[in-house]
Point group: C3
Chain length 343, copies 3
């Protein structure tokens, strides 16, 4: 047992520590094809080299969430192998598009620690940074997880809570170099709705549903080299079901949101997110969105929309929380992000 990775426990984290995560990965058209087989993703920019070139990019970038999942997956053995819960995200920036041939790696800095009052676990805050082969940051985000203590007698660390922004300031969003939606082809993109057509407060039911299979979520989760046992080993639960990686629900909801938000081409900021309830195979995932904010950008023809994307496993759309302020049982995901759209 001495040579295998037991994962870290709460007392193993030190404030300011930087953890370099293992197993860099080169992505190719293979990862993209699999992503499009696992999710009904149809955003034209990540689907077509020609559409991307007409938008000022050198080729179709990988879907932004491929970047997120790849960077995230590398953190699992060091951050969340003994996690009780994935509590939240904040201050996420997509800084550089990723293209086939790029090689990604991740590192995380511990930016906050707080032992729980029961003394059995604590919350770890990390800022994770993903880099490509040129050492350019492709994305970064803050995540906090509840982690079990391995040694209950280990002393509690000084509580440090990071000061996290409620949302990414749109002035700080990074627009990919060269991006230009001045000559955007709405017909090829699939919908006529432009930035000006969306109003703050507007809600969109994305209508379509996808029923989840064990083989699919396991393939997705392995593709990101995410090693958390609960996603793969049926013996953990009496019903033989595996807990589905929250990122699978994120990608499924994002892909479903094409129907009504086909022009929300790129995710550039991640403001927050909650995995409200667990998802299992057999669940039929649907999604709805709400426009939370809008902003202009410096790039030609490009606007930004802040979206709440909610994934559910049934029930009517546009319902989120009960009178007790808690997420309704059918809500799987409540995600808050900035996306780029043609003006």
């Amino acid at each position: 047992m001495a040579k295998t990775n037991p994962g870290r426990f709460f007392e193993d984290y030190r404030l300011g520590e930087v953890i370099a995560h293992a197993v860099p990965r080169t992505v190719s058209g293979g990862e993209r094809a699999l992503y499009h087989a696992l999710y009904p993703s149809r955003f034209a920019l990540a689907s077509s080299d020609e559409f991307a070139r007409a938008s000022g990019l050198p080729a179709a970038p990988m879907d932004d969430l491929i970047t997120f999942h790849t960077v995230f997956g590398k953190t699992v053995p060091d951050i969340s192998l003994n996690a009780v819960a994935n509590l939240g995200y904040a201050e996420g920036y997509f800084r550089k598009p990723v293209y086939p041939g790029d090689t990604l790696r991740s590192e995380s800095e511990v930016i906050g620690l707080k032992q729980n009052s029961n003394g059995k676990s604590g919350v770890v805050y990390v800022r994770t940074t993903g880099r490509n082969q040129r050492d350019e940051v492709v994305m970064e985000y803050v995540r906090w997880v509840m982690v079990r203590k391995g040694d209950l007698d280990a002393p509690a660390p000084e509580t440090v809570l990071p000061d996290l922004a409620k949302a990414v300031d749109p002035a700080d969003l990074i627009i990919p170099e060269g991006l230009d939606f001045s000559n955007y082809d709405f017909t090829l993109a699939g919908e006529p709705h432009r930035w000006g057509d969306y109003e703050i407060g507007e809600q969109i039911d994305h209508v379509d549903g996808v029923t989840i299979e064990e083989a699919e979520h396991m393939m997705a989760t392995r593709l990101w080299q995410n090693t958390a046992k609960v996603h793969f080993d049926a013996t953990f639960r009496p019903d033989g079901q595996r807990l589905i990686y929250g990122g699978h629900v994120i990608s499924m909801a994002r892909a479903l949101s094409f129907n009504g938000l086909a022009n929300a081409q790129m995710i550039v900021g991640l403001n927050g997110g909650a995995h409200a309830n667990p998802c299992f195979s057999g669940d039929t995932v649907k999604a709805w969105s709400e426009v939370l904010d809008k902003a202009e950008t410096s790039a030609p023809g490009v606007g930004a929309v802040r979206l709440r994307l909610v994934a559910t496993k049934g029930g009517d759309p546009f319902r989120l929380k009960g009178q007790d302020g808690k997420y309704l049982p059918e809500v799987l995901l409540d995600l808050d992000f900035w996306a780029l759209m043609p003006l």
Copy 2:
């Protein structure tokens, strides 16, 4: 709801109208690998760059049905989202091989309309054209579907039925530029049977069977960006099964036909096809073929065979229709196409 695509209803189509379909797509070795993982496809020309070069092509083309599914998938949101049934195919031409790196898009012209006598639906005939990034037509075909009316009071259009060929004239088949089977390696291809060894009327039982899983057909259907809800959402049916995209059965049967038709390397013409009965997960698909016709071509060493390819979910081979002239319940597909073979 206003921003999502409700699909078109019968009264929304106009004769002569040309519909440009959304979401161009760049294909890569990823799509090919997935195709070969989803279907037991082994045709040497689409499997090996070296075999393709020895046959006069610059590299291994994508399996012809990848082209068909990709071009077809783009039409679904505009043509068949509210379709009751996919009724037939005709006049299909594969005009240019597709290679990794090519970007495909589709458009359809409405070439026929006929309201049904019940006034609740009608038949729409479209000629769909797929093009690559150089605006070259890679394939075209006629398809007709029965579509519901959204407004039962909408007036019936003038009935126009296109004059469709019973089969593609072999003189009109397009042979890929440079194709040359003069030095064809039958050992590497997997079978010794050449064009001259097949007789009109000959029937071949392809023997092998594949049992279908939900995860597989959904991955395939998403890969072609086909958005029809019935393929993905288990809540449509009380048994939780999803109706399998007819193209999944086409590709499965074509791949199974390798055993006995390993040298039918390229599909170049689509004469017709019927999805005789629905397919569901758990069905074990088998296939048999009948040689309907043969023709010579202008390319060195290359002949053409017209094949009926039948997919079944049980029962004895070579049975197609009952005494009532209707397809037997175990018949899934009756496809009629021209393929190229070494002389």
Copy 3:
């Protein structure tokens, strides 16, 4: 039926005969992505072009078992379509790494024959060689299978048993040209344990488990163009389950062994292997290893370890055989190979 492949029977093999197997195959980043989606493979050398370049290779090679499965798959129609059992492996050498873009083909020489005393079957020994598009041998191995006789009256051949090495001599291992682990980055590779940290006799429980799904093993097996019917056709067994290709278990166990053997980067020799019991969907595969031997190599910073890799479907680790000398019922695989590790 005359045109389909009935497979060979025991009496169809002749000592010294060389069988060229069909359907060469070009591999790409697509095959690699699928491999990483089907198995939790994380070995850094096959995951990252940058890590591979830092190790003296031109790019990330395909996982070694992709080579093995591809070469093996081609032999199935000629060697094991009528096999009763896959009995063993020996003298396996991985001679050249395979890279995206390479095209592989296989041939097998019959090196041994022995009819069983019941007269109904016999054992066929073949030495299979896989080559790339430059005719370079990428791997070779000996395999022996029990094959049914088609004609029970066919005379028994002279019994010839090949003289097979118990294990590959480490002096004969081929180190990929240029491989250099002098500047190996243990952090990026995922574990700090180097060649010197492993002791002969040491056992490692790889801890993690993966529950197998039908869709996954069928996709894997098709990807290698392995056509054995029992893996795909649910009608062969009353429970509708499909017998899982033994190679699926090999790759799953190898991937699981990352946890404790992350630095066993490349498989270079295959000493032996037994598929101890069949695997079916729903089984949860775990793995453990034992260090059988160690050897130095001529390459800078590179050592070799001989490993026994055991896959199980339950039970405690480190248990292999019962008092009767037979494999315990939970043991799926007992594999013996040489791998390269940083000193």
